[in-house]
Symmetry: C2
């Protein structure tokens, strides 16, 4: 396996060398000698941990295809219906589009993705197949874990539960859910089915929860109860969690204590207002950021850039100091690694050789500027340079 020596890197404000061997960071020190290693002189550029996109919908993307003017009427249910109706006409899911998006994400320094993948009676498991085919084409330049996602509802969409189970039998890593009350209209039954599947197949849980206010809070509680009862601490994620973004301080503190105690992590796409990242951090809750859908039938927006997502989190949370802004960068890398269970992660000895190099002075400036990624390293292999795939 190749060895890589990053010479004259800036790590946490210090100039140093980084030696990556067998896909892992072997040494971090100034003046490392590593005969035979590929040497990259960074000239003091900043090295950050590879970004982890903890909430994506790769299967929905139109990236790399024709420009499709947005056509969905406002409202969650309208967008769901529009997606189902227009999907076939546009050739979605497409392994080509997923490949194009994954390649683009590699050039932006993303090294691992958790992607929700639609599973419903119309599409069957075709989205799982498309995403896996694309990942194979990427040949390890980026890794991913899948969530079998009942986008069109589960109880309200007969046949979906059976398909979700098929996806899990086919090795999909997590079982998803969507607004157990707001979409599926029966929060207890929805969550009982989801958690029973998780328990039976030994997989993680990641539930889309857009429901706001007291209905959202109630479902946070239902999820926490099931997480505790089944001993799933560390394996359950609530995505979006809009009941927490913009909550009054009392509700916010209650929900933070609840998820901290139950070992539930959060995935956010950094809306305005954003998750209270500082407070979640202090309570020890793992938080990942994610790009959500990137140029699909839900929205024409999205660039796939996790530094941009960190920018949204920082900006929408009102972060201005270097320390606060760094929290957002950490959520875009370390937080994602924690949520997705990557183990030891970061620019630290023993962690995977997943690194991003940017020509800025610190992580705050990286968020402010979101510059071209000079170098992206995945498992010790250079996978992108100056915004181009290697």
């Amino acid at each position: 396996m190749t060895e890589l020596l990053l010479r004259d890197a800036t790590v946490d404000g210090v100039r140093t060398d980084i030696h990556v061997r067998d896909g892992r960071i072997a040494r971090i020190a100034p003046g490392i000698e590593a005969p035979g290693a590929t040497v990259e002189d960074l000239g003091g550029r900043l090295v950050l941990p590879g970004f982890v996109d903890g909430h994506a919908h790769l299967d929905k993307t139109l990236w790399g295809g024709p420009w499709v003017p947005h056509s969905a009427p406002p409202g969650l249910m309208n967008k769901i219906r529009n997606g189902v109706v227009r999907r076939p006409e546009l050739g979605i899911p497409s392994a080509d589009y997923v490949t194009a998006l994954l390649e683009h994400m590699v050039t932006l320094g993303t090294t691992h993705v958790r992607t929700h993948v639609d599973v419903d009676p119309e599409v069957g498991l075709a989205s799982v197949t498309a995403v896996r085919a694309a990942l194979e084409r990427l040949d390890g330049r980026i890794t991913a874990e899948l969530v079998a996602f009942p986008q069109t509802g589960m109880l309200i969409s007969p046949g979906t539960v059976e398909l979700l189970e098929k996806a899990l039998e086919a090795g999909v890593e997590h079982i998803g859910g969507i607004d157990p009350a707001g979409v599926d209209r029966d929060p207890v039954k929805h969550l009982d089915v989801v958690f029973a599947l998780a328990d039976k197949h030994g997989v993680g849980v990641d539930i889309h929860l857009h429901d706001r206010g007291t209905l959202g809070v109630f479902q946070f509680e239902l999820i926490a109860e099931r997480t505790r009862a089944l001993g799933l601490a560390g394996k359950v994620t609530i995505s979006h969690g809009f009941a927490l973004t913009g909550a009054d301080p009392q509700t916010r503190d209650k929900l933070i204590a609840l998820v901290a105690e139950a070992g539930i992590s959060l995935a956010s796409t950094a809306p305005s207002p954003a998750l209270p990242l500082r407070e979640l951090n202090e309570a020890g809750v793992a938080v990942t950021l994610g790009n959500d859908g990137v140029r699909d039938l839900w929205s024409p927006y999205g660039t796939g850039d996790m530094l941009e997502r960190a920018f949204f989190q920082a900006k929408h949370a009102g972060f201005s100091t270097d320390e606060d802004i760094a929290l957002a960068v950490d959520a875009a890398s370390l937080g994602g690694a924690r949520v997705t269970g990557l183990g030891a992660y970061g620019v630290t000895v023993g962690a995977p050789g997943d690194l991003v190099v940017v020509d800025v002075r610190n992580s705050a400036e990286a968020v402010v500027l979101r510059p071209v990624r000079s170098l992206v390293v995945k498992d010790g292999r250079i996978v992108a340079r100056d915004g181009e795939l290697v």
Copy 2:
């Protein structure tokens, strides 16, 4: 003067050539012959009007200097005080920093700027001098108009009115104001002084109005009364106007009717929620977007990119269709031209040769991606290429 022929441009969805002569767009048609002209083959790339930044604070910037961690406590008055205290230590205003930022803005396709420039007893007219020195160095690659801006208050800061008048006598194009109630504590007197100066010196008015709610609405009314009384329709701008962003529908409609009738234009930095651009457009109100402060003592954020500002406007206003997103691009170019009184503007015969070329299919995609500017043309002269100053 040089002639420029842009061959195979996409303008409003149509492939065509653009001939720029004597600094103005002379012809737009396919297959133009222009012997002696510099020819640029755009290969179908999109041509947009040059961007107009209608609300900047060039004199405050630290662009091109050392990274300065943010230190201002929250709150408008705290930020004002922090700026005054730390300015000398950091060498602000600096013609070098202003030059660096203007050069960067040129590479991003901005062709004209309205910049507020601090005038107060501590700094005197040094900010005016610094901005003008920087503009001279830019040698016509970008143009600007100045607003003499009482950042530290006017009535509460003795000596400021006299300095503002000096600035106007020295040719500064507009008189500014700041929260006549919230900052200066006497809305009627503040506005009477500002409008008297405008009337006496024949200059435009551009007032920062952060005051929200009914206090903000009241000041919209006071400004409209004075605009009407002095016949200043078309020469008065309200910047920020937070009483309108996020207003309830009834207040929103009332304020829109008010500014439309009085001939007041609006400048927005596209906060969340954003100005109701669609409704303002329908009422015929001129709206410009602006980057506000870019990396200064007020905020570490800012890139100077007007396409990014259009993105914020579009995103924060909930725009998704191509038509809606195009409104934000128009505000970033045509709207700014209207507010700043540039006259005929746009990709149209007779308008100035102020153009931006981007490798996307339409203006919605330009907002979504905010790509490197392939070419920037100011007054018919190529001033930037592929993100680098020419």
